[in-house]
């Protein structure tokens, strides 16, 4: 029965294996650590992430390698996205630390362990080459996040957010699975590369395929949080403790991008005509609803939630312009612009939430827009950092957000869908209003609270570096842009 089975090559999955082992080890070590010495857990978690990044770099061959009976793929796109995931998680854990330290009911070792398991889920999603692996990775990520959202269990808002996230997440997983099973029914394979071949060569039942595709796209849209599957985003961003919101809003977007690339682009590119139409609708709706609803918000976390919806809509524009009437000439350009967009967005959003986390202190969440009134008088430097983030999100040159929007728009125009580019620009302009309102509050209003902002030095340095990266990468966007293009060229 096991005659033709060969032991899989573990090397391409070395970072994942190391991460899983370390997460379980840290879980055990944490049991023997006193609550007052939680820093040990923190340092171990950070060291694990850094070591994973090192392993990733040293084991990378640059070739497309399949292992675990083609369940797992390691290519340049996976390597690059995983390195960004490690980097984002390191930043997220640094920003969260002071916040957790001031709230003893949240400062538990499980926070770091669950964050590591969530990272493992993202890595698996990024490297998945089989529907089963995709689903398992997604569930690992989601389950860790549900628990983290509910970790502040005495807060009604947090538990409600966790419940909503859990129920809607389960529904989305159901849709995704149903779609996958239909596509399996039409092609007879679960493996993504084999699926692409089967679609390219064979006579498959198109109705069943498109039927499955509809469910697949709906499930993906839930996970990406685009309209009309966005209902959970504002409540979860608002209700979750801010470090968890930061986590949900940053690294998982990279994994979600990889998921779209693996399922739709690598697997179902033959059906591009169909899923591009669906994604265009989702994208335009997201930009409209996200940008318009954000104007009405008074809570900064909620505002950033709607902003996330509109940004994901914008990112989808890069995905929908890959294939123009059966011609994939612009595909590389379009997909790498979407990848650049998602990386730029993650960089901006970590910085934005970093400022919120730095402003909060024990018993006080700095999540209302009014809390930012007169920030310039209290701390000109961090008002400057927030200014960079807001300008960048609004798409003002020369920050990175501008080039992200610019490259996606270029791809849209190259595909000949001028109307789509115009819609995107108009909604971006509307969106600029609420970003600039934050700037106005910080610079032109009188502060409500004159207390000095206290933050440990390493947070100040990291936050400044993050803000400066948003500005500096805007001056040299080619660095990341060419990395994305090269990674995709070697992977697709």
């Amino acid at each position: 029965m096991f005659d033709n089975f060969v032991i899989p090559d573990f090397l391409p999955a070395a970072p994942e294996i190391f991460l899983a082992t370390m997460a379980m080890a840290i879980l055990m070590i944490d049991l023997f650590i006193k609550d007052s010495r939680r820093t040990v857990t923190f340092v171990l978690a950070q060291a694990t992430l850094v070591a994973c990044a090192a392993i990733q770099v040293f084991t990378s061959t640059g070739e497309i390698t399949y292992t675990f009976s083609n369940m797992f793929v390691d290519d340049m796109m996976a390597d690059l996205l995983k390195l960004f995931v490690y980097m984002t998680m390191v930043i997220v854990l640094f920003y969260s630390r002071a916040y957790l330290f001031e709230r003893p009911n949240m400062n538990k070792g499980e926070y770091y362990v669950l964050a590591l398991f969530a990272t493992l889920g993202m890595l698996v999603m990024i490297s998945a080459n089989n529907f089963v692996t995709v689903y398992v990775g997604l569930e690992l990520l989601s389950l860790s996040l549900y628990a983290m959202v509910a970790m502040n269990r005495d807060s009604l808002a947090s538990t409600e957010a966790a419940m909503k996230y859990f129920v809607l997440g389960a529904l989305a997983s159901g849709m995704l699975l149903y779609g996958m099973s239909m596509i399996y029914g039409a092609t007879g394979t679960l493996e993504i590369t084999e699926l692409a071949e089967a679609l390219y060569n064979g006579e498959n039942n198109r109705t069943v395929l498109v039927f499955g595709l509809v469910f697949l796209v709906s499930g993906l849209a839930f996970k990406l949080g685009v309209v009309p599957f966005h209902m959970w985003i504002p409540d979860v961003y608002h209700g979750a403790p801010t470090p968890v919101t930061l986590l949900i809003g940053s690294a998982p977007k990279l994994a979600a991008f990889a998921l779209v690339m693996r399922l739709l682009v690598s697997g179902l590119i033959t059906l591009a005509q169909d899923w591009q139409q669906m994604l265009i609708i989702l994208s335009v709706l997201s930009m409209a609803v996200g940008n318009l609803a954000a104007i009405a918000q008074t809570n900064l976390k909620r505002m950033l939630a709607y902003s996330a919806i509109s940004h994901m809509g914008f990112m989808l524009l890069g995905i929908v312009t890959g294939v123009v009437s059966g011609d994939a000439r612009y595909a590389l350009n379009a997909y790498s612009s979407a990848m650049f967009y998602v990386i730029a967005y993650v960089l901006m959003t970590t910085c934005g939430f970093g400022v919120i986390l730095m402003m909060s202190k024990a018993g006080f969440e700095a999540d209302n827009l009014d809390d930012y009134k007169g920030l310039n008088k209290r701390s000109p430097w961090f008002a400057g950092v927030m200014l960079i983030v807001m300008f960048s999100m609004a798409g003002v040159p020369p920050f990175i957000g501008f080039f992200a929007k610019f490259s996606v728009l270029q791809a849209v125009v190259a595909s000949g869908q001028i109307w789509l580019a115009i819609v995107a620009v108009v909604f971006s302009l509307i969106g600029a209003f609420y970003y600039l309102r934050v700037v106005k509050l910080m610079y032109f209003d009188a502060p409500q609270d004159d207390s000095v902002i206290v933050a440990p030095n390493h947070i100040r340095i990291l936050l400044s570096a993050n803000g400066l990266a948003v500005a500096a990468l805007g001056l040299a966007p080619q660095v990341i842009m060419s990395l994305c293009a090269y990674a995709l060229l070697r992977s697709l």
Partner: protein, 198 residues
């Protein structure tokens, strides 16, 4: 109509009835019991497809473990069903229209010729045990998702502990000796705290 088809329709009718009762029953305990019935009949249909492992797993795992646990939870909690149903009538028209559309579309696709496989093609050859096949696949080709599923279960356990564990409870025995000798300064402690904003 041969015997197998008759059994299929019989089980399907019960399944549909049970599924409907799950969502229409006013009492959550009845809803849970009907869900168990739905699982049983689904298990029966899977048995007819010769997927005996899946059928047994469904009944052992879902009916035996999950639903019994679920029944306990439902009985322990005092769920006010009327409050949950608030707004039911208001959302019914929109929900009904969307639901009907979905059912029609799904019916068109799933009722098509493509899914009507002749019974002869769908049967498993003699001598093949699908329990054995699934077992072998789990530890060979599917070992990666299998291990990851184990990690998911671990995360579930961690989550359950972190969300419910509130520290070790000390026993509540009072010691009369210390009660007699207590002084005022043992009862009240004056703390110096920084001012917090709410």
């Amino acid at each position: 109509m041969d015997f197998q088809t008759a059994v299929f329709f019989f089980l399907s009718a019960i399944l549909i009835f049970a599924a409907l009762r799950v969502i229409t029953a006013r009492n959550p305990v009845y809803a849970a019991l009907h869900l168990m019935l739905a699982f049983f009949t689904t298990g029966g249909i899977w048995l007819m497809l010769q997927a005996e492992f899946l059928a047994i797993a469904l009944i052992v795992v879902y009916v035996g473990a999950v639903m019994v646990l679920f029944l306990f939870v439902v009985m322990m909690l005092d769920i006010n069903i009327d409050r949950i149903r608030e707004g039911f009538w208001r959302y019914l028209p929109l929900g009904a229209v969307l639901g009907l559309l979905m059912v029609l579309e799904m019916g068109l696709v799933l009722g098509s010729k493509y899914f009507q496989v002749p019974l002869a093609e769908a049967t498993v050859p003699a001598g093949v045990s699908n329990t054995r096949e699934i077992g072998a696949l789990l530890v060979t080709d599917y070992v990666l998702p299998f291990e990851l599923a184990a990690v998911i279960l671990l995360v579930g356990m961690i989550a359950a502990v972190v969300l419910t564990f509130r520290g070790v409870k000390k026993s509540k025995i009072s010691n009369p000796n210390t009660q007699v000798f207590v002084k005022a300064k043992d009862r009240i402690r004056v703390l110096q705290m920084p001012v917090e904003k709410d």
